[in-house]
């Protein structure tokens, strides 16, 4: 499945706002997020490139998780959340009033820091849950998608003989790959990952990183990480956040070897954070 094709921008009749057409998977313009009176993100603008890995780095509390969650409207789970600005997914405004968050989240998937396969379901049930609970009943489609997603998550060979085993019987690293397969099964265009390997041992972590490099061929990936070596290894682009502001954004090699901002340099060389 090739999601890199530029999709026609769907402009609803009442949407007259114009935007500069861009090839970005996610075009963020002047995004500010408030939790109550607290301004957690301050006028962030950047373009997430398609079929590439963009890493979001920064010290604790800099807003990187909030930024990630604003990309699939998950920050709205907090009842005090408010946002201004614009985010376009392949040209579509995901915050338009006609858009349901549910639809956004089917196009922009998410994997969390702590793996959370649903404990009452088997491995295959976990993979297909997003499809089944959205109305897909065709067994053949579900079976195909299960194999496809588990292969993409590099888990198929390990579990193909025990798809009916409970999902919680897998190891930590396997559970995280299962969550990735679960997210991929609904065929999102973008995959968001919030520190996906921080709870895993180094062996499992490197498997996840290899997986990310494979996945970017077909998906756009945005990954939040506090592990700078991981960001340097796995990503094509890096965004450095500090205290809610986007300090610097660019190609990863440049950010790590010759950043233009002093704060960026201080952070990547470990002088603070």
């Amino acid at each position: 499945m090739n999601t890199a094709q530029v999709l026609p921008a769907a402009v609803a009749p009442h949407q007259t706002m114009e935007h500069k057409p861009t090839n970005a998977a996610l075009a963020v313009r002047n995004l500010s997020v408030f939790f109550g009176a607290n301004e957690v993100l301050k006028r962030v603008s950047l373009d997430i490139a398609p079929n590439a890995v963009t890493a979001i780095i920064g010290p604790s509390g800099c807003g990187k998780s909030t930024f990630l969650r604003s990309l699939n409207r998950m920050h709205e789970l907090n009842p005090d959340a408010r946002m201004t600005g614009e985010i376009r997914l392949f040209g579509d405004d995901i915050y338009a009033s006609t858009v349901e968050p549910v639809i956004v989240r089917r196009r922009v998937g998410m994997v969390f820091q702590k793996s959370n396969p649903f404990p009452t379901m088997t491995i295959s049930e976990n993979v297909t849950v997003g499809l089944r609970l959205n109305g897909v009943r065709n067994r053949k489609v579900l079976a195909e998608r299960t194999e496809q997603s588990l292969r993409m998550a590099a888990l198929w060979d390990e579990v193909k003989d025990r798809l009916q085993a409970p999902a919680i019987s897998l190891s930590g690293g396997q559970q995280q790959r299962l969550c990735i397969a679960r997210a991929l099964a609904v065929q999102p265009e973008v995959l968001l990952m919030d520190e996906p390997a921080s709870a895993l041992d180094p062996l499992a972590t490197s498997k996840i990183e290899d997986l990310i490099l494979e996945l970017k061929k077909n998906y756009t990936i945005v990954i939040v990480t506090h592990n700078m070596q991981q960001a340097a290894r796995s990503s094509d682009f890096t965004a450095f956040f500090y205290l809610g502001e986007l300090v610097e954004f660019g190609a990863t090699p440049k950010i790590f070897t010759s950043p233009s901002q002093k704060r960026t340099e201080d952070y990547v060389t470990g002088r603070f954070g």
């Binding site: 639809i103 969390f112 404990p119 849950v129």
Partner: protein, 269 residues
């Protein structure tokens, strides 16, 4: 000091042991097939059984579940999933605690006015209604507590997959908490199964099989009470048997619930 505390602990469990002992000694021999299947004989005659009371208890519990479970579980869902941080949920919880403290005989008076008077008579419906209403606050609080124990990560993961909120709640959250919810329901059923006072003027009791739900119906606790108050030795004998059966039923539910919840912790780790 240690000795005193130890003696107190012994005194505290003594009643349970004694009750069980006496019920078994005095009632066990009367438990036979006839006891479970036959109706009470006419006043003064020996023999017969408590079949109608046993069936009556189960009928009333079924009715109570029909009322108490949907209202209680869905109300608990509201408290845990939609209102957990808002002020209204504090008031609802407070109200549920108030209801849990209402004496059971008062519930009987209320349902008498509400159901028995309009229906011009006691009925199984009235008995089911009073037990069901008593169950509502119990089940609601228990459900809310269990739902709070479900880690937020599951809700987030489901929503992030684009699953709508109500499906997330029903198919993911409630499903995860199901064993705990069932536990809460069973405990509430065990509580109302032993209630006599509210049934005194709602279900009222019946020496025959109730042919339909709008007739008065017998129940184990009611029958035990009636027989205990009577002057007939044979009825006393049967009351011991009935008490033993009721106690075993209630204890069985309580113990099974413990076993169920203990297993849950083991598999979760």
């Amino acid at each position: 000091m240690q000795a005193i505390a130890f003696i107190c602990a012994v005194l505290v469990i003594a009643p349970l042991v004694l009750v069980f002992y006496h019920l078994t000694r005095l009632g066990f021999s009367s438990i036979n097939w006839a006891f479970f299947t036959q109706l009470p004989k006419a006043v003064g005659e020996t023999g017969g059984g408590m079949g109608n009371a046993i069936v009556g208890t189960f009928v009333l519990l079924a009715e109570a579940a029909v009322i108490g479970v949907p209202i209680g579980v869905l109300g608990g869902v509201f408290l845990a999933e939609y209102a957990s941080s808002s002020g209204i949920s504090w008031w609802i919880r407070f109200g549920a605690d108030i209801l849990n403290g209402v004496p059971s005989i008062v519930w009987g008076l209320v349902v008498y006015a509400l159901v028995v008077m309009p229906m011009h008579g006691a009925s199984a419906i009235a008995g089911g209604v009073v037990l069901g209403l008593m169950m509502v606050p119990m089940v609601m609080r228990a459900t809310e507590e269990v739902l709070h124990l479900v880690p937020g990560g599951y809700r987030e993961a489901a929503l992030a997959l684009g699953i709508s909120k109500w499906k997330t709640i029903l198919q993911i959250v409630v499903r995860t908490a199901l064993r705990g919810i069932v536990t809460g329901v069973l405990l509430a059923l065990a509580r109302v199964a032993g209630e006599t006072a509210p049934l005194l003027f709602t279900a009222f009791g019946n020496t025959h099989w109730a042919r339909n739900l709008s007739q008065p119906i017998s129940a184990l606790p009611l029958q035990i009470f009636d027989y205990a108050n009577s002057p007939y030795d044979d009825w006393h004998r049967q009351a011991w048997a009935g008490a033993l059966v009721l106690l075993l039923l209630v204890l069985f539910i309580n113990i099974s619930v413990r076993v169920l919840t203990r297993e849950r912790w083991r598999t979760k780790s």
